[in-house]
């Protein structure tokens, strides 16, 4: 959404500058030294320019978070830069291996490092564990490693993920459940439709679980595409599901999903059309951002 995105962009570049100014204020006892005065002046001018909103092309390539300034190389696994990158890898994993009976969630990050690459991008190397939400707390953890590349281009482009998870092929296949679910809803008279899953109180019926998981997997396509180092997306609700006429033996579902971005705390609404079958998995055919902010006029990116 435009309003949130603009303030984020502005915030991101001013933040590192302000942090620099603040850091020098705190760490230095000789505030009047020349380099610090120059730095402070630069920061003030920079902040002023940010407010005036110069066109993006003129923004110098400052690191995007104050955290990054300190840490190229090994990252603290419990800190947000590593976790955000791991979530992106999770979204990728779910687009490839998610189903009505399988959604992966992050358990923990074991090791992480980051380095700047040519063309101004930043590559994260991650070692982390995931669990399958569908198998509850009983499920085993899967060990994964991933390279997540966030490009740093003028206009946002999707991160690139390379992922390896051990024993992915060996985890319990849910073939029977998938087949039963598919057979139940592929007939032409099936017209599933529901709202607010889960409801305000966290209730979700057994029957709705596979649809919620499908929404979560489909939403992963969007979350993956929209992610940057400054976002951390999660789906907080399947606002609605409306079954469409099946096409090419695929279940066709129109979802409205609500995504929550942790850094900005914004709730973003997307409408999407997805297909699924046990053979072809989840495919997202159309996505449409839906404005919730009263003065927003066009979607981000």
């Amino acid at each position: 959404m435009l309003c949130a995105h603009w303030s984020r962009l502005r915030r991101v570049s001013s933040r590192s500058c302000c942090a620099t100014a603040l850091r020098s204020t705190h760490s230095s006892t000789r505030l009047s030294s020349s380099p610090e005065r120059i730095m402070k002046t630069f920061c003030s001018v920079w902040l002023l320019l940010s407010v005036v909103e110069l066109s993006p092309a003129q923004e110098p390539p400052l690191p995007e978070t104050a955290e990054d300034m300190a840490s190229t190389g090994d990252l603290e696994p419990t800190h947000y830069p590593a976790r955000r990158a791991a979530q992106v890898a999770l979204h990728y994993l779910n687009t490839r291996h998610g189903s009505p009976f399988r959604v992966f969630g992050l358990q923990q990050v074991h090791k992480a490092s980051a380095e700047d690459v040519e063309a101004g991008g930043r590559k994260y190397k991650l070692d982390f564990s995931v669990t399958d939400w569908a198998s509850g707390s009983a499920g085993p953890a899967l060990r994964c490693s991933a390279d997540v590349l966030f490009p740093r281009t003028e206009r946002h482009s999707a991160p690139d993920v390379k992922l390896r998870c051990e024993a992915l092929q060996q985890i319990n296949r849910t073939v029977q459940e998938e087949e039963a679910f598919y057979q139940k809803h592929i007939p032409p008279d099936s017209a599933v439709s529901a709202r607010d899953i889960p409801d305000s109180y966290g209730n979700m019926s057994e029957e709705m679980q596979p649809f919620w998981r499908l929404a979560r997997v489909a939403a992963s396509f969007i979350m993956l595409r929209e992610s940057s180092e400054n976002t951390e997306f999660n789906m907080v609700q399947m606002a609605s599901v409306t079954q469409q006429e099946s096409s090419e033996e695929q279940l066709m579902l129109e979802f409205v999903v609500l995504l929550h971005d942790l850094p900005s705390q914004e709730i973003v609404q997307w409408k999407l059309l997805a297909s699924w079958s046990p053979d072809r998995g989840v495919r997202v055919l159309q996505t449409e951002w839906q404005p919730r902010c009263p003065h927003a006029t066009k979607p981000p990116n």
Partner: protein, 423 residues
């Protein structure tokens, strides 16, 4: 021992009232072995009608004797003649029994009311406020303190747990400053009941903490926002985060109450856009809700710990939010938080990550935990409760009690630590 006696006396009193009217309990502080021998002889005299609650053993221990009303003068005279010092510790045993019986009835009433309270459900504001009244009206330990009103003129209450004293060093816990984080209010409701229970059932470390400190628990720090989230299942309502004040933009309401504190207000870790979810407000403490809490804590002047409950992400964090440098007490705070998260984990295996707000979530300016810490309240922590994103804000109600209990394990650790490390 005395409790059993009181119960026995209660049973007896049921059959014959006025059994102990005017009886007193004297505490004897014998000063010599001779005096101990005199008391021993007195105890052996079964016709004396004296009821030794504790026995004469040595000069190290006081001897408590219930003396029937009719023998009072004679016994006191006897003790004075022998220069045995004593004090009256219960002036009228019957009166004391009546009071204790009344308290037991009150407790039974409260128990039945709170037993019937469904902790495994999310409740609206009115129900929570009624629950607070139930607790406060039936317990000497708990009182309900009004600290001001909200923007829409609702009362803001904090529950005070105190065994007495005058502005004892205190612990602050608040929940619900962000309206949509329902698990935080629900956890705080359960906590209030549990603290009362642990105190009544003499379960460590609550009684010893409350003998030295007061606990202030604010279950709903943002009543207007909370009511708004109940207005309808429409996501526009259920996912409301902020207060409900009017802003400079007539289309957008509310301020992020956890960006409105006077702690490096105006920095990049909050938004200046009234339509943003983390809108900081026009100025620090512009929001009446924040002003009320800040004023209360500052005028009290003796808070030693400040903790705030949020959701979700399963994190236990400490200052700073506004900047990435270590707080002066970083090492200690990190250790306390780590041990606390281990205590939490011991209940149900739930894993929390520990770190400063800045590094763990993101930069945040105007946050309450920073405010408290910068005002000298050293042990300041922020909790992000369950889960890690599967249900997020819509945590199923059947997880409320286990979430609350594991959080209690963590809070108990911190409170005991604060109590053991006065400053």
């Amino acid at each position: 021992m005395r409790l059993y006696l009181a119960v026995f006396a209660l049973l007896a009193a049921v059959h014959c009232e006025e059994l102990f009217n005017g009886d007193q309990v004297l505490r004897i502080n014998a000063e010599s072995e001779d005096q101990i021998q005199i008391l021993k002889k007195l105890e052996r005299d079964v016709d004396s009608g004296l009821d030794f609650w504790t026995h004469a053993v040595s000069t190290e221990q006081p001897v408590d004797i219930r003396v029937p009303h009719s023998s009072l003068y004679a016994v006191k005279d006897f003790l004075k003649k022998n220069n045995i010092p004593f004090t009256v510790i219960i002036n009228n045993v019957q009166e004391r029994l009546v009071r204790e019986r009344e308290e037991m009835v009150r407790n039974a009433e409260m128990e039945s009311k709170t037993k019937s309270f469904n902790f495994a459900a999310y409740h609206d504001l009115e129900t929570i406020y009624n629950f607070m009244d139930t607790l406060a009206n039936h317990s000497k330990l708990i009182s309900k303190v009004k600290i001001g009103s909200t923007y829409e003129n609702r009362s803001m209450y904090v529950l005070k747990f105190s065994t007495g004293g005058e502005k004892r060093p205190a612990i602050w816990i608040d929940a619900g400053i962000h309206a949509r984080e329902w698990i935080s209010h629900a956890t705080a409701v359960w906590l209030a009941d549990q603290i009362a229970k642990d105190f009544k059932e003499n379960r460590a470390p609550v009684p010893s903490i409350l003998s030295k400190m007061d606990i202030y628990l604010m279950i709903v720090a943002n009543p207007d926002g909370y009511v708004f989230t109940h207005r309808s299942s429409n996501p526009l309502y259920r996912f409301w985060r902020k207060s409900r004040s009017a802003t400079s933009n007539p289309k957008c309401h509310g301020v992020d109450l956890n960006r409105n504190w006077d702690a490096e207000f105006g920095g990049p870790g909050a938004s200046d856009d009234p339509c943003a979810e983390d809108y900081r407000g026009p100025s620090a403490q512009s929001e009446i809700e924040v002003k009320n809490i800040a004023k209360f804590i500052m005028s009290h002047g003796n808070f030693k710990s400040f903790m705030t409950l949020h959701s979700y992400m399963q994190l236990l964090m400490y200052p700073y939010g506004y900047i990435g440098i270590d707080a002066p007490d970083q090492t200690e705070l990190h250790d306390v938080a780590t041990m606390s998260s281990k205590a939490l984990n011991s209940w149900h295996g739930t894993v929390y990550k520990v770190g400063s707000i800045f590094h763990t979530i993101d930069q945040a300016n105007g946050a309450s935990v920073d405010w408290a810490y910068l005002r000298g309240i050293k042990y300041s922590f922020a909790f992000e409760l369950r889960d890690t994103g599967k249900y997020g804000f819509l945590l199923p109600a059947d997880q409320i009690v286990s979430t609350a209990r594991e959080t209690w394990f963590a809070l108990r650790y911190i409170m005991k630590y604060v109590c053991d490390h006065p400053y």
